[in-house]
Each structure stands twice: as C-alpha cells, then as structure tokens.
Symmetry: C2
Subunit: 312 residues, 2 copies
Amino acid sequence: MPAACSSGAAPGAFVAVDWGTSSFRGWLMSADGEALAESRGAEGMLHCSGAGFAPVLRDHLARLGAPDGIPILICGMAGARQGWAEAPYLKTPTRLDALHEGAIRVGARGDIRILPGVAQARADRPDVMRGEETQLLGGTDPDFTGLVCIPGTHSKWIRIEAGQLIEFSTYMTGELFSVLSQHSILAHAVEMAGQVPTKSQPFREGLATALAAPAGLTASLFRLRAAQLLGFEQRIDGAARLSGLLIGTEIADAVDRYGAPRSLRLIGTGSLGLLYEAALSKRGFDVTAVDADEASRGGLSRAAIDIWGAQF
Amino acid sequence: MPAACSSGAAPGAFVAVDWGTSSFRGWLMSADGEALAESRGAEGMLHCSGAGFAPVLRDHLARLGAPDGIPILICGMAGARQGWAEAPYLKTPTRLDALHEGAIRVGARGDIRILPGVAQARADRPDVMRGEETQLLGGTDPDFTGLVCIPGTHSKWIRIEAGQLIEFSTYMTGELFSVLSQHSILAHAVEMAGQVPTKSQPFREGLATALAAPAGLTASLFRLRAAQLLGFEQRIDGAARLSGLLIGTEIADAVDRYGAPRSLRLIGTGSLGLLYEAALSKRGFDVTAVDADEASRGGLSRAAIDIWGAQF
C-alpha cells in the first residue's frame, strides 16, 4: 500500500488522525464518514517527541490533499503527557459519546483538536488507554452493552454498559511477544519470519496450554526453549507457540475477570485479529469482528460531528 | 570482593568451577572440601564461545595459584552444546550421585572434566538444567526427600525422592525481570538502583497480588506502569513491585504443581535469596536456606571424590 492514496474527488470535511506510539494514520474524511484518502507513516509519538508534531502533521496533510483550514481531529498518544499536548484522561465510568467534551485544541493555526484517553483511576486496578476509547466509540452502537477485546501491543478488554465504559484491563501481550522474541533466551527459539496461521498446531497447543494453566506462563515460556533443545519442536514453530501461550494467558484471565464466554466484539486487524478470532472462538466466545481502522475512523467521525456539527 | 583471593596455604587437591552463561566462579579446593582460594569473573559461556574456554580457564588457574596438573571439575553451561564441549544430559529420573558418571573430559593436557546437566525429556513438560544439578548434589543429603527451589535468571523447582531427581520446572523469573525492566514500557517504571528490601511494601503487595491471581501477570505488569502514570505509586517502588509480581507468580504455579506448602530447601544467594526466603515464608513454607556457592562447591567436591577417589 502506498503511504498516501487519494480518490481525488470531494474536498473533504475534516481530517481524522489516529496518532499512536509508533505510527501515524490519517484520513481525509467526507461529511458522511467516508475515507477519501489515507496517509500512514511510522512517525508516532516516539518519533515526534524529538522532531515535533506540527511538521509531521503538515506533511501528511499535504499527502492527503487536505484543503487549508480543514478541521483536524486526533486520537491516541499525541494526547499523552509526552505527546503533542496533554488531553487529560476522562475517568471510568464514562459515556463513550462524551469523548468530544474532553478534546483540547493544539497548534497556532486552524482548528486542530485531540481527544482524551480514558483512565481507570482505582488504586486496586489502575489502567489507562489512549486511542482505544475512540475505536470503542466507532466500533459499538450508542447503546451497546457487552464485552470488547482490542488486541495489540497492549491488548484491552473493556466492559461497556448502555454506551458507558464501565471498566477495562490492559494485557502486555503484544509487547511481551516482541520483547521476549528479541531480547530473551527465546530469541533462539522464535523465528520472526512470516505470520502465524490460525490453524497452526503449535499455536493451538500453546493456546490450550495457557487456557488450561494460565498461572504457568513463566514456566511455559522456558519449556518452549527446552522443547527445541530436546528435539520435540522446531524453531520454525516457536513464534506460533509463543503467540498461543500469550494470547491464551490473556483470554484465560479476562474470562476470570469478566465472566463466562458470551458474545464479544473484537476490534482487530490483519493476522493478529484473525489469531484472536480463532482463539476466542476456541474458548467459546461468539465473536463479532470489527476492523480496527474502520473503528478509529468511525469514532473520530462521531466525535467530529459532536464537535463541529453535522453540517461541515 | 577481589576477583581472586587466596589463603596461600595448602597446595589444593582439585579445582572446582561453576561456569555459567554469564559468569565464571572457580575455587581451589582442599581434599576435605574447603575452598582455599576463589576466582570469579564475567567470562561466562557467552563470552567464551568467541574467546575460547581454555585461555579463560588458564587465567583463572593462575589467579587461584593452582599447581600444574591439578584435576579440574566443571559444572554449568560450559558443558552445553554451545559451550566448551557437550556433556550430554542425564535424564530424569536420575540419582544425583550419578552425576560423575556422565562427566566428559576436555582439553589436550591435564585432567579436566565437565559434569552433565539434567534433562526432563518429556514432550508435555520438557525442561533442562546445567549447574543446578550440581548445587542439588551439594545442597542436599544423599537420601534427601523434598522440594528444592533455586532462584535465579531461570529459577528451578525440583522434586527429589531419596536422593533421586524426579521432576523439575524452570521459571523465567529473573530473565523476565531483567528484560522487562530494560526493554519494555516498564523501563520507565522500574529504577534499577539498589536492591529490593524484603520488608518493602510494594514487594509484599506485588507478591500478594500474584499469589492471589497468578494468571493475571500480563495485566498486573501493565498496571504497574499505569499506577505510576495515575500517581498511585512512585518510580522508586517499581523494581520491588515487579519483583514481587514475578516471584509470586512463580511460587503460585509451583505450589499448584508440587502441592501444598511444607518444608522447602532454598539454594540461594544474596538479596535475591532473601527475597525468596521472605516470599516463601509468606506462602507458608518452612524454609531451610543453603548458600548457592557452597552448594556448587559441595556438589563438585562430592562428584570429585566419586571421580578421583578420596585420596587426592
């Protein structure tokens, strides 16, 4: 996919940006919530903390062919303390359609706003999100009640009641996969080439192991290496098994916390989304999958209408 | 402690070496199992895979003031496939006093031998150790029955019956602490300065959290960071909480596997040994602590007598 692609048609009503820790995703949006052009890049918060946020945004606006003075709505880590400007967290419980009320304005020119994240400010279960709250807004109906899973570097499980975000938990699943396969003894046991297919036997075994005994994760991790040393498994199967172990541990704990399997909304993307869908179905969930990019755009569009009205 | 220190007295009967992944510990031993001199260094297997094992050993022998031609007995990763020469694993169940039977000879001159590790060659619970089997030999009586815990980078829990190593589990506890605090988002949340005191409140809380809900580790890890972002905890407390979470998860799973609390032998050293002793006592174990270096020397001495006889 090219970094930017445009239909070259309508002038666009606003620009939607999901600005994460390590990525930028921007879309020129029509008034009725359609993406007219897209621009993606690796200039996430970490990059911009040094290089500055405004110049990066300017470049992407040019690639999108966005007209001067177009309103811009941003979600994600750009609103963190270490981001462009801090958009203070809303606190749980909070209505998802109240996100726009916490938006802050940034930049000297034009109308650029950043949506807030959401904090669970409880000493016993402190937690934070930035970006996922906007995906929740876009990926659920206004009166949605149920459980949502958003896989990723820091996977989120969210309980929503009648459009209100009640509580959530973050799992370091994706980051553990990456850190363990790069910096631990498992670097010898995990080949990073290619994606894990959902039907992979070691993925399914890892999943079953973790679902059955999630407390044993730190031992299962070493056994992954030992199995290869002793000739029970090949290195090529390491990534799939590690993935199964980590995703299974996450799901087992989430089930413990949020109750027995039932229908679940999955806001995911690509092969990771497919792995979670397979894993959640295996555990008995009835999964409705929503594309993560669509959810981001949908949430930004709903908040944009609340901020600027439907007429723009 | 200096890299080498010698009493300068007796000539010594043999040299005992515990050669790990990232460290070398050598002792000039008397015939009755006393350490006459010690030489430690960071030239572990990883270092020697490039630089060679023989020259490193030669340097340490000189520092120890070891006489020419003295017999040398080595345990640990020097006997791994990527080590000096592979000493094939003994398989569980195995008598600890059979270790010497698996020793291999290395080097062109003198009598230098490496003890084997132990493998649990079971497809459902594959596991390996190199070095700990020697500490077990030295840290338990010949007819010992019970549970042993050896904390470290890769913590071991071992079930022994009448001097026979029946089964064991390895936990990546120490490596997880190191990798997470250096390479993950927790690098912002964990200060590495100083050691964790056993009475530390965040250590005890992390321990209690993990003992109560060990399946939730990957969520607890993120909450450690979130607690600091939300002002519930200071960065200075991060290392203690992380330590408590990881050690608690290990103990909870080991209890699941090896049964209800009872007397336990702990082969540990320094502040990590103290943390485990506090944690294990908290969980209801009656702990007998053995110094890890003494256990290594003791095991090497017992095996040396089996190899060369008591007369040397």
